[in-house]
Symmetry: C2
Subunit: 408 residues, 2 copies
């Protein structure tokens, strides 16, 4: 540890504050870092020389000269994210600048069965970069979101349905081609990152995100901003969680209870016929909700009447279906709460989102009857593609960490 290193640390601290709190004057920086006036000037000078920070204006408050306002140069670095979507065979790619502004977003259809992963990703990123007007070289990190278990640091992805992506060394190949830092993570984990940054879990100490997808079930565990991955990246593989004792027969694991098809079948048994689970839930919620808020829905009287017409007989059925589903979900949540005690559980995925507040409330109620332990339950607050959003955040965080010297 050298005096030089000391300087770097101070630079990093200042840059960190600029990244987190936006434009600042030298005075602000002085206060935040605790540095002396001349030193603050020095640090800013160095950051500007490095092309990381720019003058973006001047204050005009009070008397005395107007202080210069500094901000991180958005063009100083870029980050990219790629979401591997099995369900519609596309790579969704996004590029953002150092300020977090999304510069481009593309969707590339890929025939995973016949195309190699590495060239496909390389192409997707190249196209997105071009559209963003950014040289590929300037992208500091590419974060992949994959539907599978990704062990910490390891380069193999387990339980992937996408052909070619389960092969050892995929990530390394992609890295070699892109010549950047490339990391992969489970898509539900990335959705949780988005939930923390842009969703309902922004201020929370930690939370568990239960992904009730049409094609997959998952649990992401956020502990104060870091995700729990498990030894083989298998943390949150709740689909395999046994429910019920083995000799009892019938229901065996959580997947049998709340997978897309299980939900669809449950709905069917309550007289609600749909092609997918989340469609069934959407319909059930609309009838159940319109019943409950029927009297208050003065403005949408016409719509309400129409709904009641078609659902008159199914209103009670919808209620029963939702309650039955809530109990099933609550069984899983109860286990998670007993093991992890998260302050918040977020329901996401197609089914979770379709259930909305209606389902969340019922799950919370069911949980109270099922277990002494309880916790707050909410629905996802992320509107856009949570996986891409989360991957972009993760990617950007990595770029920032390296700029601030916290990463090698």
């Amino acid at each position: 540890m050298d005096s030089r290193r000391l300087g770097e640390l101070n630079e990093a601290a200042a840059l960190g504050h600029l990244l987190e709190r936006g434009p600042l004057t030298r005075g602000d920086l002085r206060e935040l870092t605790g540095l002396a006036k001349p030193t603050a000037s020095d640090v800013v000078r160095r950051l500007r020389a490095a092309g990381l920070v720019r003058v973006v204006g001047r204050t005009s408050r009070g008397r005395g000269p107007n202080a210069e306002v500094y901000a991180v140069d958005p063009d100083a670095a870029f980050a990219a994210a790629v979401s591997v979507r099995a369900k519609d065979s596309t790579l969704v790619t996004a590029v953002c600048d150092l300020a977090g502004e999304v510069r481009a977003r593309t969707e590339t259809p890929v025939d995973f069965a016949h195309a190699d992963a590495a060239p496909a990703v390389h192409d997707a990123v190249r196209v997105a970069a071009r559209r963003a007007g950014v040289a590929l070289r300037r992208i500091g990190h590419v974060q992949l979101g994959v539907p599978g278990s990704v062990p910490e640091g390891a380069e193999v992805i387990h339980h992937v349905d996408v052909p070619g992506w389960g092969r050892p060394g995929v990530v390394a190949e992609i890295r070699k081609r892109l010549r950047t830092r490339v990391t992969a993570d489970n898509d539900v984990n990335l959705a949780a990152v988005a939930e923390r940054r842009h969703g309902i879990a922004s201020g929370v100490d930690g939370f568990a995100l239960l992904w009730l997808g049409e094609e997959g079930l998952g649990l992401a565990i956020d502990l104060g901003g870091t995700l729990l991955r498990g030894a083989r990246g298998g943390a949150g593989e709740v689909g395999y969680m046994p429910v019920g004792l083995p000799p009892a027969g019938g229901v065996h694991d959580f997947h049998d209870l709340v997978s897309g098809s299980a939900v669809r079948d449950l709905a069917r048994r309550h007289g609600i016929r749909s092609r997918t689970g989340h469609a069934a839930v959407t319909r059930a919620v609309s009838t159940a909700t319109s019943e409950a808020t029927g009297t208050a829905a003065g403005k949408t009287a016409g719509a309400a009447a129409r709904t009641v017409d078609t659902a008159a007989s199914t209103g009670a059925a919808a209620d029963e279906f939702l309650d039955a589903l809530a109990v099933r979900v609550a069984v899983g949540v109860a286990v998670v709460v007993a093991v992890l005690d998260p302050p918040l559980v977020v329901l996401a995925g197609e089914v979770g989102r379709a259930g909305g507040g209606t389902l969340a409330t019922r799950v919370e109620r069911a949980l109270r009857e099922l277990s002494v332990l309880h916790t707050e339950i909410a629905t996802t607050g992320v509107r856009e593609d949570a996986v891409v959003l989360g991957a972009l955040d993760t990617s950007l965080a990595s770029v920032r960490r390296r700029l601030t010297g916290l990463d090698p």
Copy 2:
């Protein structure tokens, strides 16, 4: 950040290495910290002046002058631990020096119903310190181990059976009386700390410790050395974990499956009668094991014969009982593995220890049949009182952190 602070950081780094790797020469220190020769000398000088480091000898390897060997002064600071044991109404107290050497260990019977917590703990620590020949003032940290949930940083303990210990502010009162840093943690968590330092989980990335106690059930989750506590300190309250679906009736939570009395009853149903669960397991293991290793047990032929005599008819019963128990335990483990994916699950507590390798093997087998996911399962490797040992480690770690300036 000042030059002074830079010096402190280097001191801290050197001290840290001395604490972790034992006695070192200036040369070793130079290599480990990357400092220049004169600076290393300087750092050592400062550490010696602060009374933290002592010369403990000289090398005599190779040519050149013999280097001085430095080590942390064991008497530079002390740490204490107190285990609150409800089952036999005692406070077990231990004091160790900065090197980790236990200097004293006492057991004080306390009538929790009539004695206040703070004075009782104060007395216990005072006595232990005197026996260790250490002034109370020199004890830098007191770590309490309590059978209850302790939220991170909060001062209330939930779900405690010990009278007076559930009252808000207990920890603060104790702190006020002892005039030191005082923290409290769940006893199972502390047992996990001991498991990592002195037990079977020494080199592992992380592990889950399933405490199968006669009077309590718990799960400690170790993630690379830090323990997961949960929002309300309720992480690992697996006793409340629901097993089976609600309408199914009968078995409701994990506690009903593997608590001490549940184990005892299960044994009884297999014809093994004991007053406690772990006694039943001990007997079952001895018969089951002697059967399996009967031929190889040449030396203890007499003992084996005796065992076979009394167990001839119960050998099969013992096997069945152990397998049934293993399945029950495996249900809980399967859930933990699905949620957390730990590289290792350690069985501890009276029942877990009684089960030994025999039970661990059977649980591992049962798990394989129950779930796709699996993990290594082992029995606790801690011989002594794990709670006190873990509390002492935690306490010492806190003292060291403060010395190295990592803690405020």
